[in-house]
Subunit: 117 residues, 2 copies
DNA sequence: GTATTGTGCTAGTGCAAATAGAACAATAGA
DNA sequence: TCTATTGTTCTATTTGCACTAGCACAATAC
């Protein structure tokens, strides 16, 4: 379990952290019952604030990927199996978009639009 | 040509405006040579600032979807044909994500992650 | 019992979105 | 050519969010 961030990116740190976990989930590197590293430890090793890490964890809890409780930490739920199902569809769409010369923000904006309808 | 926004959304107004145009493009409702409504008119009818509309137009210009010049307005380029090619792949992915119970931000975050790799 | 871990609170800083007003420049059309 | 239209550029202000910081609190594990 390794969390990665790019401090220079425009994407918020807490979103990068959550995305890092989701990425592991869709790659099959995470299984139900696995425990994410403690927020305080992550914060120290990445040199970010504890609240920032916890905000990422809470985002993952809101979408049901982890179970979050004090004393115990962040535990991956059964939902993780669903994430790996998207592990094929997403790279396919992204490569298509790249071939067409579409940027990230363009593609995500189109998806947001589609979601709302 | 109808631009729609949701002032209550967390998504920036200028991005919503750009997304609205992209949506029309991918639906085939826009053709090369079509002209977007003047920024001042859009701003007035949607009750937003002119600069906000122009920022959306400039974003569309940066990605090559429109040609932007004073006096003439925003004219849709040939790139619009590419957008319609994604008109099938995106709804398919989105419906899959919805079936899995994934939210918008989750899906877009996963795509951002995939894009960077 | 004690350390660990998330929860909740207040407060401050920095940045981007959005608004506002004005002057300017290129294009279209009469 | 003259005039209205339309995007461009500039400065300035307000607002909200991300992030940091420190602290006390509560639940869980060992």
């Amino acid at each position: 379990m390794l969390l990665r961030i790019d401090p220079a990116s425009a994407v918020p740190l807490f979103e990068q952290l959550a995305a890092s976990v989701r990425s592991d989930a869709s790659r099959g590197a995470l299984r139900a019952g696995d425990r994410l590293p403690a927020a305080r430890g992550v914060a120290e090793s990445l040199d970010v604030n504890v609240h920032t890490v916890l905000r990422a964890y809470q985002a993952l809890r809101d979408e049901g990927l982890v179970d979050l409780r004090r004393g115990r930490g962040a535990v991956v739920t059964d939902l993780v199996t669903h994430y790996s199902e998207l592990g094929e569809a997403i790279p396919r769409l992204v490569s298509t978009a790249k071939e067409l010369g579409l940027g990230v923000s363009t593609l995500t904006a189109m998806i947001r639009q589609e979601y709302g309808s």
